[in-house]
Symmetry: C2
Subunit: 503 residues, 2 copies
Amino acid sequence: MSQQKFDQLREQLAEISDLVKTAALLGWDQHVMMPPGGASLRAEQLATVGRIAHQKFTSAKMGKLIDGLRSWGEQRDYDSFEASLIRVAALDWEKASKVPSELRAEMSRSAALANPVWVDARKRNDFAAFLPVLRKNLDLRKRYIDCFEVDDEPYDIVLDDYERGMKTKEVRGIFDYLKEHQAPLVKEVAARGGNAEHHHNFALEPQKVFELEVIRAFGFTDEAWRLDPTVHPFASGTGITDIRITTRYFSEHFGGLFGTMHEFGHGLYERQVDPALERSPLARGVSLGLHESQSRMWENLVGRSLPFWRHFFPRLQELFPDELGGYDDERWYREVNAVEPSLIRVEADEATYNLHIILRFELEQAMLAGEFPLEQLPEEWNRRMWDYLGIEVRNDTLGVLQDVHWSGGSIGYFPTYALGNLISAQIWEKITADLPDLHDGFEQGEFGPLRDWLREHLHRHGRKFTPGETLERVVGTSQIDPEPYVRYLREKLAAIYGIATTT
Amino acid sequence: MSQQKFDQLREQLAEISDLVKTAALLGWDQHVMMPPGGASLRAEQLATVGRIAHQKFTSAKMGKLIDGLRSWGEQRDYDSFEASLIRVAALDWEKASKVPSELRAEMSRSAALANPVWVDARKRNDFAAFLPVLRKNLDLRKRYIDCFEVDDEPYDIVLDDYERGMKTKEVRGIFDYLKEHQAPLVKEVAARGGNAEHHHNFALEPQKVFELEVIRAFGFTDEAWRLDPTVHPFASGTGITDIRITTRYFSEHFGGLFGTMHEFGHGLYERQVDPALERSPLARGVSLGLHESQSRMWENLVGRSLPFWRHFFPRLQELFPDELGGYDDERWYREVNAVEPSLIRVEADEATYNLHIILRFELEQAMLAGEFPLEQLPEEWNRRMWDYLGIEVRNDTLGVLQDVHWSGGSIGYFPTYALGNLISAQIWEKITADLPDLHDGFEQGEFGPLRDWLREHLHRHGRKFTPGETLERVVGTSQIDPEPYVRYLREKLAAIYGIATTT
């Protein structure tokens, strides 16, 4: 009887999963393929599919079905598909059913409509043009928060959407640690004297060739992946066997490559979820923090490592003989690890990146609390850029308009980037202990052992456990710990810049 | 009260329209963008979205809503949006509600699963590999027919899906006329001596450049269109302002260009529907026959006309100086109008094309009636190719496996191609009477007047009227008349081959 009810739940969740993945395709297509004329209609389509998925999931009937299965699920092995599905569905239902479908639809419609406005405002450096849609998104986000009981801080509600169970004050504590221990690193490096300015001109076609070679070595295949150009890189897809990553290319530097490796890391997490979880709400990465740990790992701990470049630099040099004629792998390694405060988050180096996040984390809380008129946002942004990074923002395109998130209504998302950085170092300490030959493998172009380790210890679980439980399975503790990241950073910068290895 | 009910109907149909267009995107992406690994999951997504759209539309509640509005609608102007929407929704509901949602979902799942099987079987010339999915599609189609009361012939049911109101015996009558009057033309041309063999080698890149120049002159814009390469060309999109056409390229001949102009014709019909009809079931071409009249018009009556090439040939010659050095526009015009029985329908010339259709029309009826074991289909195909066109089919890739339709379960679709040819000539006689300067305009690269005429007389109506009513508004009669097409063909071939201008 209960097995039958479970099958019913599974089938209904599979249908909802189809709708969620369909919405993902509508979104991917909107950013990558859609002619601009399709924008307003696409907003309706996204709203409709989102609303139907939400209505189906939050129905009282669904709540009853889940409720009726709780004790049956609890009798089963905690790790089992059945127990995990019931547990996660119950938690999801509890949160989702508090939000009216109409508000959900309005949020997704508003996000879709805001996107082209943002693209255009960013292109034209016109914050005033973006302001009305930002205001609308923010108002919707406040209405969303109002659907819940706030125990501690309103920001907890939106943060929980991306990092279930995480509290604003925990994040604040972690960020305070970073302000105390990471920010000084940037100053120590600065004291060692500036980086040489590098004026490159990398042709785009060989860049594309090289990027594909790199991610193919990582595990990208034409069978199950796509790579396309877009304005703002992201990872998406319609399932475990259809992973889509996007990127962009610059001629002045190799930021495009690091962005591609970053999105590869996201894609690989989705790609290596246990196929038995497909068409269920368990078939994706457990949280954005864990997700970001994967993207940052492939971008930085792999892609900005010396062993990686020992293998790949000769090929890079072959493709860019003029630009890189006077280089060797170590000089190139130092260049791609240069620490220098800069304007754009996605291009920021490992030492300054988290400071970009802290700025956004603080601004988001201030916006939700209405601490300043929204017109003033660029000034607030620019002031903090000066305070935290010591640089002046020349225009809003390079400032407050740079990120896609707020145009999509994603408030509460940014902190997960910094948390991901920290988690990546926690996991890396575990991996390098488990796989002593890892770096030797990188020097041979071998990334399979890392991929397999990640599948086994993290990826395959999908969303079966909470973020804390998942982290505990991977590293032995459920707590995000900033120390390994700061340790990793200090050691790396000590080798490059000659700063002290300990404070 | 009734206005309120109408608004309710409109909103519910808008939601369904969003789902239908979303399914169109899932399909477009499947054929154009999706990594092969996504196939089985995509089948589920298509089935789910299709099932939900069908369930929502065929619900008893929807039936009651439509029923309650009938008399209110009848009191309004026949041409009005309100009256048309109620009328069309009532007819659609009557047909759709007879089909269980599960069967619908099964049909769309089966079609999605069959697609990669067909692509592969076609590539490997392996009919046996395609047979099981064809059998499955055919069985589903029979179950579909069983949902209806058959008045006359079972084929009527499927034909009506693509050409509402058309009967199998009408089509048979029209095709008999073609056998009597069009087939002899092919023989007369053959008696005049064969065409010279042309061995070309057209580089693909300049072909792409040229194609884009042509369709941009026709009305393609980046704002509202996409053009992508695919295995089998088709037209799709997510709405009036997001039109997507696909094409393929050959080096031996310019068939790709004519395919692109063909799909442009389909796209333009959708593009020029009155925007006020968007997000309703009225916002698309009224039938496949009318649709095909538009694609064939741009492909043949425009793209294979001498005035068109008077304008475009110099540019073509500039792009292919080696291949076309010894040509002038008239020689090229004769070459692209060469009449010669050939294997591939989409590459067939205007004189032989309809014979390819007659073959498929007969085979489909025979398959539905189970007149031969399905294993025998290639032989049946090949025998008729010999009987009707006098050519031998060397392999199934060039024979029974060439078209996408049966892999998608589309049985009853093919006749609309031939009907479209006939309608295109009916409309053309009207256009050339209304616009005496049309051909002079073509010679100047001016296609705006044709585009505008089509919008005004045909496109803008969308699906407001029946196919017969629509045709009557365009040409003054609701009957499809094969005479103008045969007349057009005989005159054209008389000029090129010197056959008699009358029988």
